[in-house]
């Protein structure tokens, strides 16, 4: 099934597209990722690309940037057929990419990362002039308005800052490649806050004289805001090509998912009052240099959203509750019992599940199959007489794959080969399967398509209805407010505001922002 193909106005002039795919096909074992896809990007154009998780967006981008080669079909650069044998080949032809998953090398410095593979311009007689390189790197950082020392190691940077560095890295193309550029942005905004998003958008617009962009995002409003034209993908095929000015979110959503957006996106009618039972209680909880004197109660069935900017201490607080960094002051009580969580294992043992932001590092064992990942948090109950009941494991895994609509060739597929959104569903399945009593959700819908988000929201509602308590930190305030019973705002390590968010009495975003900065 597919939506109507809506044709935009025909191209205005005879200039060939800057970059085009013509009848491109790509298969992976068990997956037909791209089916006869044709798209074109005209000079100076910003093209949005939307589609469900696994629709093939990243695959398409990787073909355009030389990471993958198409099985059949052509790539046309400025009207003439070309081939990209590798990423560096594509780069030398003026095509740069910001990858969906972070691709900075954490053991190198920021400057080294920015010019990785492009040191030649600073090299004389084989010797790299690091001063010149770092000076140039500083200029690149200034473009994205990051004032970090380029000699900082990438691992010492925060998540969002790293994303901006990646952007800076892609923007070096401006100086490094002659002629017209095409810059591919695969979900660059998913970890960014509005301020950085504005910087990014401004940069994109400023460059449009020299460059075309493809912009992938699951935040449809952003796509509408930035793009000139939008392609919609579904199941590996392009199903629509729209002029952004004429399109709206509802329409995009319908094209992607094949049904209309729920009026009640966050399922607010399903929000039930939480119970009286306190499952988690923080009493003056502190961690030096991160947060201090945090106190709140979390009840069974409650969703507690924590809002705050980076550096507000909410990251560290969630890490403490997940067992990564024990608190050093105050008290933490779980089901009335005082505890100190020294390792994630201790947290898991008392029923805490954690969905981390760095999905590919801490969320999933990429090189294990889907089934093994789903059961990893709760192998104990699958074990009979010391042996894992593999039949039961298989059944459970299949059940979760169905319930969460995880798109995978099978439960024995390595998680590595799943699309980002489907990977996130596997992580969620893991904790649902482990019947965690408290779920710590750190950006749980990051990278999920709108449809998948709905499903996740519904799932979160369902588990809270059964008494699971949730602590939520999220990409957007909207999501935080929409889902939560209670919202806490943190700033500089302390709670600055707390507000109830019962259906019908949801707080306004602006009110919260005032307490955040």
């Amino acid at each position: 099934m597919s939506g109507p193909i809506i044709r935009p106005a025909p191209p205005g002039s005879g200039t060939p597209p800057a970059l085009a795919l013509v009848h491109v096909d790509k298969r992976f074992p068990g997956v037909h990722a791209l089916k006869n896809v044709s798209i074109e990007i005209r000079p100076g154009e910003v093209v949005g690309l939307v589609g469900e998780n696994g629709a093939g967006k990243s695959t398409l981008m990787k073909i355009l940037s030389g990471v993958y080669q198409p099985d059949s079909g052509d790539i046309r650069l400025n009207g003439s057929k070309t081939r990209f044998v590798s990423a560096s080949d594509a780069m030398s032809q003026g095509i740069g990419m910001v990858f969906q998953e972070q691709s900075l090398l954490t053991n190198l410095t920021v400057g080294e990362n920015i010019y990785l593979g492009n040191e030649a311009q600073f090299t004389r007689f084989g010797i790299v002039d690091w001063r010149a390189l770092y000076a140039a790197a500083s200029r690149q950082l200034a473009k994205v308005q990051i004032d970090a020392d380029p000699r900082t190691r990438a691992e010492d940077l925060g998540f969002a800052a790293r994303q901006m560095v990646e952007l800076a890295k892609a923007l070096t193309l401006e100086e490094n490649a002659p002629g017209h550029l095409v810059i591919l942005l695969d979900e660059p905004t998913s970890v960014l806050e509005r301020a950085e998003i504005d910087i990014l958008f401004a940069r994109v617009r400023a460059l449009s004289a020299r460059a075309s962009f493809i912009f992938v995002s699951h935040r449809l409003d952003e796509v509408l805001e930035l793009s000139d034209r939008i392609y919609v993908m579904k199941d590996g095929a392009v199903v629509a090509d729209l002029v952004a000015a004429d399109a709206n979110v509802t329409q995009l959503h319908h094209l992607m998912v094949g049904r209309s957006l729920q009026a009640e996106y966050y399922r607010e009618p399903l929000q039930r009052p939480f119970r009286d039972e306190v499952v988690l209680e923080l009493d003056n909880l502190s961690h030096q240099g991160a947060y201090r004197e945090i106190g709140f109660q979390l009840h069974a069935g409650e969703i507690l959203g924590i809002a705050g900017v980076i550096g507000s201490g909410r990251e560290e607080l969630t890490r403490t509750l997940a067992g990564f960094a024990p608190h050093d002051g105050g008290k933490l009580r779980i089901s009335g019992k005082e505890v100190k969580l020294r390792t994630p294992a201790e947290a898991v043992d008392i029923g805490i599940g954690y969905i981390p932001r760095e999905r590919r590092v801490e969320g999933l064992v990429l090189f294990l199959p889907v089934a093994a990942n789903i059961t990893l948090g709760d192998l104990g109950t699958l074990t009979r007489h010391g042996l894992i009941d593999t039949r039961e494991e298989k059944r459970l895994a299949q059940e979760w794959v169905q319930r969460l609509k995880i798109r995978t060739p099978g439960i024995n597929t390595l998680c590595l080969n799943l699309s980002g959104g489907n990977q996130q569903k596997v992580v969620l399945a893991k904790w649902l399967n482990a019947r965690a009593k408290i779920l710590i959700l750190d950006h749980p819908t990051r990278g999920l398509d709108v449809g998948a988000k709905e499903e996740v929201y519904e799932l979160i509602r369902a588990v809270t209805a059964e008494g699971v308590a949730v602590i939520l930190t999220s990409d957007t305030l909207e999501e935080t407010i929409g889902l939560s019973h209670t919202v806490l705002v943190m700033r500089d390590g302390a709670i600055t505001h707390r507000v109830g968010a019962e259906p019908g009495h949801k707080p306004q975003q602006v009110d919260l922002i005032g307490h955040m900065v």
Binding site: P29, V365, G377
Partner: protein, 319 residues
């Protein structure tokens, strides 16, 4: 052994490549030297592989987790010395004693590795040194020959059942236990998870340290068992009895197609790897390969074997 078949089916043809490599090698040698394909010769080959396989099995547990155990050869030698010294006093208890000692040594290396956060390469290299010294001191630097009465205790190693040498059966028992441990227990699953992605395993609540220590304990115990089997085969103990078995053991693991970086692998692959090593070695003797060329041929064939056996779809980055 239902799950062995499962393993085969799930990944299709590729899973069979190691075994196919082995079979081809055997047939190749047999084609030139029919005496090689005689049942007795093959049984002999299996017996001669037992010690290598047991050592390699132990180290497979550690390699799966992404570590390495370099102390196995010293442990096996020490175990042989301990058995030889205590057999007359403890009888069968001597075997249990040595076995326990192996587990203990593994426990110590494991603890040194996880608690002091010393790379396993160093921790076990050092432990190997300590064990070697211990073997030298306790044996007074000599090999200890077992007397007639002590040799009576070795029947369970040296005998045969229905014509099958007991060492082969011991190897099979180790295979079955190790296979179950690895494919059907939490320990096995956690090992694979840790080897394939330690931070994610850690965040999922896996007690990483504990699994690592268990792997070293198993490795030490297997090494001790290998030493015990050596005592049976040589009717003696000596501080250098298992010399030069370390690298072949690790090579057996890798030749089977287990990733030296961890996460991907299995015990049956190690079995196939150990057999490939034996077949190549003994095959060269059978074929009368020039003695000066043997090392070269050995090196080349091992590399070629790995080229076939490793599963690159699971090890996309070959380091």
């Amino acid at each position: 052994m239902n799950s062995i078949l499962d393993t085969f089916r799930s990944d299709g043809l590729r899973q069979w490549l190691p075994l196919a490599t082995l079979v081809i090698l055997v047939v190749l040698v047999g084609a030139f030297q029919p005496a090689f394909l005689v049942v007795n010769t093959l049984l002999q080959l299996a017996s001669d592989t037992a010690v290598l396989f047991i050592l390699a099995t132990g180290v497979t547990f550690v390699i799966m987790l992404g570590g390495i155990d370099l102390s196995i050869q010293s442990m096996a030698s020490l175990s042989s010395v301990v058995v030889a010294l205590t057999l007359s006093r403890f009888g069968y208890g001597a075997f249990a004693f040595a076995f326990g000692l192996g587990a203990l040594a593994g426990l110590l290396s494991g603890i040194a590795h996880v608690k002091l956060r010393i790379p396993s390469f160093i921790a076990t290299l050092a432990m190997g040194g300590v064990l070697y010294s211990a073997a030298l001191v306790t044996s007074k630097e000599r090999s200890i020959t077992l007397g007639e009465s002590e040799r009576a205790y070795l029947g369970w190693i040296t005998g045969t059942v229905f014509g099958i040498p007991n060492v082969v059966l011991i190897g099979l028992i180790v295979l079955v236990i190790a296979h179950i441990l690895q494919s059907r227990t939490r320990f096995g699953r956690y090992s694979a998870a840790i080897g394939a992605g330690e931070p994610a395993a850690y965040a999922s609540g896996v007690k990483v340290d504990r699994q690592k220590v268990i792997a070293f304990v198993l490795s030490g115990a297997c090494a001790a068992l290998a030493g015990i089997v050596l005592v049976g085969r040589l009717a003696s103990g000596s501080p250098t009895l298992a010399s030069e078995l370390l690298l072949p053991s690790i090579a057996a693991v890798v030749v089977g197609g287990t990733a030296i970086t961890g996460g991907v692998g299995s015990i049956w692959r190690t079995l196939v790897g150990a057999l490939i090593i034996s077949v190549v070695r003994i095959g060269m003797t059978f074929l009368g390969v020039n003695i000066f060329a043997q090392n070269i041929v050995f090196g080349v064939v091992l590399v070629a074997a790995v080229a076939i056996t490793i599963d690159r779809s699971k090890i996309p980055i070959v380091k």
